[in-house]
Symmetry: none
Subunit: 221 residues, 2 copies
């Protein structure tokens, strides 16, 4: 269980704060915008309305005792992000993750001691070029080269067929694929049964080789 301080509750900052809290860490969220703090109440351990460039405020919250700080401001607050990162390292926070809005911003953050730089828009841009355009997959996680788990919408030809009829389960195994889960609306079915019916709007979590996933993608086009 880590003590994490997240400064700057834009989309990146609020998402990482919420996700870390759900993972079981203690999360202190700091923002200078009161509305952002209101939105975070109950979604993190503490949400405080404060100016993170004010060192005495950081001292008051004993930020130097934290394991990790995330400096999440974006392109609209480059100077602030650099200053807060410098303060965090200066106060002895062992691991500081800083979000960068440009390569120059990133190398400056590195030079003042940030331990890890994240470029959210660039990361997403790279991923989108591979996954947003791979007409089949919505997401993909390799397990070994040429075998992995992908997230995809089922081909229309499979709507209202059971997994067995669609050739997607171990008994029929037409595609040598394993449907590990089905996301339906806001919920999911783990290890669906052979007689589970595929619905339009479903998202299938499927494991298979690139070749076999590729055959499935073909049907989806």
């Amino acid at each position: 269980k880590k003590q994490v301080c997240v400064v700057g509750l834009g989309r990146f900052g609020s998402t990482i704060a919420r996700e870390l809290y759900q993972t079981g860490h203690d999360v202190l969220a700091i923002d200078i915008d009161e509305e952002k703090i209101q939105e975070m109440l109950g979604q993190v351990t503490y949400a405080v309305w404060a100016d993170a460039t004010n060192e005495s405020v950081l001292k008051e919250f004993e930020v130097s005792d934290y394991d990790v700080a995330v400096v999440a401001m974006g392109g609209n607050n480059i100077q602030t992000s650099i200053l807060v990162t410098a303060l965090m390292k200066g106060m002895g926070v062992p691991y500081v993750i800083a979000r960068a809005a440009s390569d120059i911003h990133g190398s400056t953050l590195e030079r003042i001691g940030a331990d890890k730089i994240i470029h959210p828009e660039m990361e997403s841009g790279v991923r989108a070029a591979h996954v947003g355009f791979d007409w089949g997959a919505l997401d993909y996680m390799p397990i070994v080269p040429n075998f992995g788990i992908c997230k995809m919408r089922p081909p229309a030809a499979m709507y209202h067929k059971t997994l067995e009829e669609a050739g997607l389960c171990n008994s029929s195994d037409r595609y040598n694929l394993s449907v590990m889960a089905i996301r339906r609306g806001r919920t999911y079915i783990m290890n669906p049964a052979d007689d589970e019916e595929v619905q339009p709007g479903d998202v299938l979590i499927v494991a298979g080789t690139n070749e076999h996933l590729g055959e499935l993608y073909e049907l989806a086009v």
Copy 2:
């Protein structure tokens, strides 16, 4: 090989444009900021200085013949992003990927016909919470908010224990987690049995909520 039109060359837009071009697709990049166009020359097939809300300009570049359009503007240009998306769909571009800066922006884009919505900062925020630290997951794929699949090294405490002894399978289910696969060396075991022994060097593919994955990360430290 696809014909792709990317509108808006901020960090997300310029990255996806460059990446798609490198992947071998034909990329037309459009931006109203001349400097952005200068930067893209040679990194895409064509970079044109134009106002993408001007339908006659889009017609002039025969955008309706393209396979995909990416509307990449962010939070500073929400109205523009909505208008350009509507124009693209109206002109018959078959697949339009639109970047959203908020949930409302995203659902508006969906309602006017965007085929895929990307939330770059949120995507990166989720991933960074699992993967951005020295501990925790090697990779992470969300299925629904707060439930996903992560790739992680087993805690040393689990070495040479069976999945059942380690509390990692349905019968004992101490962590409410599902070990979907184990990568061992260059191969993998799908749906491992309860008596499968965890080896040093294994990589576990585990599904669970953030809270339960968090408990597992704890042991791995």
